[in-house]
């Protein structure tokens, strides 16, 4: 499959990249890892006239602790999340998520910024970032602004990023003591989009009761979904079998899957329930350690 012709632009700073976006508007697309954009161009679903390759911009690939936050550079590769000790020890939920994305070769190119900015409800990081209460840092002509993750996913393939903004960083509050999270994904095979994915992050109090819970759902609606009823239900409760099962039921009720080649909607709802139960169970175990 041959993609349509385009003009290739390779800025060396974020400022230059933003200026190119301003100049070319909707005719331009940012090339980050390219693992969604290039397949879409090959299928001619996407036909940008200008492709702005940000891969040579220095300083956008990092994973670090920064003033109570985990800061991840927008161009950070999935493979780097997968191999990061900081991620594995402090954010096992992100380690789980990165490992489920596509396959090793794709993860060497694919970026966390691209996974979010693409606005695809079938992508895996959105649910995890919803569960973690992340913030998105966008850089545009006037500088940077921060967008709360709850305001970020607007509709199918549409985010709160403006046409002249680039997602440059993801910021996640460092979890307190007795916190844990997990991501579960049901997929037909390695590399497939989720039939259903569930991200769960919990913080327990000293008595083992759930102080805070975040639950995000992948590929069961027009946008990634935050299961707020399930989250509210969990507060103040012990994460025993009946509680997490009930939370799973609430999350299933909040999901809006459509029937497609990955299964009918009632099956997917049942899988939301089961995966929520498993993700909360694993999150609770990790929080208790």
């Amino acid at each position: 499959m041959i993609p349509p012709s385009f003009e290739y632009l390779r800025p060396s700073t974020v400022k230059e990249a933003v200026a190119l976006l301003q100049q070319h508007g909707d005719a331009a697309k940012i090339l980050s890892g390219g693992q969604s954009l290039i397949p879409m161009m090959k299928l001619r679903i996407a036909r940008p006239e200008y492709v702005i390759d940000i891969n040579r911009i220095p300083g956008l690939e990092y994973i670090k602790e920064d003033g109570g936050y985990l800061a991840i550079g927008g161009l950070t590769r999935e493979a780097d999340l997968e191999s990061s000790d900081l991620i594995r020890t402090k954010f096992p939920i992100i380690h789980d998520t990165a490992g489920f994305i596509a396959d090793p070769q794709v993860r060497n190119m694919a970026t966390v910024g691209g996974n979010l900015a693409h606005g695809d409800p079938a992508n895996d990081h959105p649910a995890t970032m919803l569960a973690l209460g992340a913030q998105i840092v966008a850089t545009g002509p006037a500088g940077t602004r921060t967008i709360g993750i709850d305001d970020f996913f607007v509709s199918l393939f549409t985010t709160a990023l403006k046409g002249d903004e680039i997602l440059t960083e993801i910021r996640i509050p460092m979890p307190g003591p007795h916190s844990g999270g997990a991501y579960f994904k049901l997929e037909r095979k390695v590399g497939d989009f989720a039939t259903v994915g569930v991200a769960a992050q919990v913080t327990l109090d000293s008595g083992g009761l759930c102080q805070k819970a975040g639950v995000g759902l992948t590929n069961v609606g027009g946008t990634p979904i935050r299961a707020r009823k399930a989250e509210d239900y969990l507060k103040g409760k012990k994460l025993d079998d009946s509680t997490i099962k009930q939370a799973g039921q609430l999350a299933a009720d909040e999901s809006e899957p459509s029937s497609d080649l990955r299964g009918p909607s009632d099956y997917k709802k049942a899988m939301v329930m089961e995966l929520t139960r498993r993700a909360l169970g694993r999150a609770g175990e990790r929080a208790g350690k």
């Binding site: 041959i2 090339l31 397949p39 090959k42 070769q105």
Partner: protein
């Protein structure tokens, strides 16, 4: 649309070319450089037949533009053997019957090459994880895993 000049080190040799930006890396490798050991299988980044190493990392060359390789180093299956000596991975695939039709083999070898570069002594599970982006429709993977184990053992000596 403006063509782009690129310079890429391929299997140790500098290559220059002037190409359309839309040219995929796999087409550059096969048609411009004439290195047809890199295969096009699914053309949708599923099968891994087009796997090559870019700056030591395994990538699917059907899902990169050739311009993205400008200034980088590529390793294709043609660059794996040295001085007429098969690489231990190539030897392993031969000795352990890691191929039948051979179509997936270059991609399997490059993905395994990257894996052994990071992890010289992988467990069976880590080998299976390392080649999870490569499809083989002949062998059922058993002998491919054995081939990688053969190479790991030989390289560890």
């Amino acid at each position: 649309m403006a063509k782009q000049s690129i310079q890429v080190k391929v299997n140790g040799t500098e290559r220059d070319a002037t190409i359309e930006p839309r040219l995929l890396l796999v087409h550059f490798i096969r048609e411009v450089l004439g290195l047809t050991g890199t295969h096009i299988g699914c053309d949708t980044s599923n099968c891994g037949a087009c796997t090559v190493l870019m700056d030591g990392k395994a990538v699917k060359s059907c899902t990169l533009f050739a311009v993205q390789s400008d200034g980088r180093e590529l390793l294709t299956i043609e660059g794996v053997a040295h001085d007429g000596q098969l690489h231990p991975l190539q030897e392993g695939f031969k000795e352990e019957h890691g191929l039948q039709c051979g179509f997936c083999t270059p991609g399997m070898i490059l993905a395994s090459y990257a894996l052994l570069g990071k992890n010289p002594n992988p467990t069976e599970e880590q080998i299976r994880w390392g080649i999870s982006g490569n499809l083989c429709r002949c062998t059922g993977y058993q002998n491919i895993v054995k081939a990688v184990q053969y190479a790991a053992a030989k390289m560890g000596k």
